[in-house]
Symmetry: C2
């Protein structure tokens, strides 16, 4: 088959998939996760049930794909949040603020979903990518002296990501900004730096 033809088939497939995932998102936002059916998804997406089944074997598979797309989107947003030219501390702040707002918006259904889907490998992979991304910024921030270096960067990363999930319970952007500031305060070097610079 000519290349162009393949490309347009790929594009068509991607569009159908996206329509199914958008429909799923809308249905979950409206009714919650519990009663979701393949028929509802197909109807909402404006495609036939048989077509939907060509792409996804069941509701669980649609939800996985949707979750995967969400996580990928979030990772892109985080990567875009930081000005690559800025110092690590500034980049980290921008990324953590974006992460807090994502947590805030994922809100209730995000919680439900992650609960149901946490067993998937793709979630573990995505979570590891997120963790690694933040950890790298923290390592750079510690090297530049903006952040503390008395605690392993891996642990600081876990602290950040958990602390910022509190954004899901907050109301209004001011509270979210305050949460980011508090969380960052935990990452700063402690005490007016004891005389000896301890890194060899």
């Amino acid at each position: 088959m000519p290349k162009l033809w393949n490309e347009s088939i790929d594009a068509h497939r991607a569009a159908v998939k996206d329509a199914a995932l958008d429909a799923t998102a809308a249905l979950v936002a409206e009714h919650g996760l519990v009663a979701l059916t393949m028929s509802q998804i197909a109807e909402k997406a404006g495609i036939g049930r048989a077509t939907l089944y060509k792409y996804f074997p069941d509701v669980q598979a649609v939800l996985f794909a949707w979750h995967e797309r969400q996580i990928a989107t979030h990772l892109d947003q985080l990567a875009a949040a930081a000005d690559p030219a800025a110092p690590a501390g500034v980049r980290l702040e921008a990324v953590l603020r974006t992460y807090a707002f994502i947590q805030h918006h994922s809100g209730r259904h995000g919680g439900e979903l992650s609960v149901l889907l946490h067993h998937g490998d793709h979630v573990d992979r995505a979570r590891k990518r997120l963790h690694d991304f933040i950890e790298q910024l923290i390592i750079e921030g510690a090297q530049s002296g903006d952040l503390r270096d008395d605690v392993p960067a891996d642990e600081l990363t876990g602290y950040c990501l958990h602390a910022l999930t509190a954004a899901g319970t907050l109301i209004g952007p001011d509270a979210i900004h305050r949460l980011v500031a508090i969380t960052l305060a935990g990452l700063r070097p402690q005490q007016p730096a004891p005389a000896e610079p301890d890194r060899s």
Copy 2:
């Protein structure tokens, strides 16, 4: 009926209930939540199935009761963690450390459980008690100048409780102590206190 008789009936009932809850805990630790049945629980508790049904209508009810007992135990542990004579900052540190270790030990099954049971009113009530308990310590700490007062105590409490859930992913007590220290650092007054003591 004589009072003594009532008391011994009450004690017997409490003992049967506790046996059922202990059995449930053991079964969940062994097999996870998924396949738990009333028969298994009764057998493990050493009581008849009919007896178990006198106390609990179904597995869900046993799990609720178990969760309620766990939360009550944890609240007691937290209340006991702080020396009432110590300054608020010291009490808060002791309480948060205890909370972090509880989160650490609740580990995996704690997570699964809370997911399944989060809809219960009793969990909301218990969570509110926990929140109020920590918030009160934070208010006192802010009043004494140990803790920051530029962010509402309610938000600082949410930050703490979420940050410390990271303990569930940590290995070893040292890492947990570090997590508590980082979390507390976020609560401390920021900057060398600007000249004017701003509280009227």
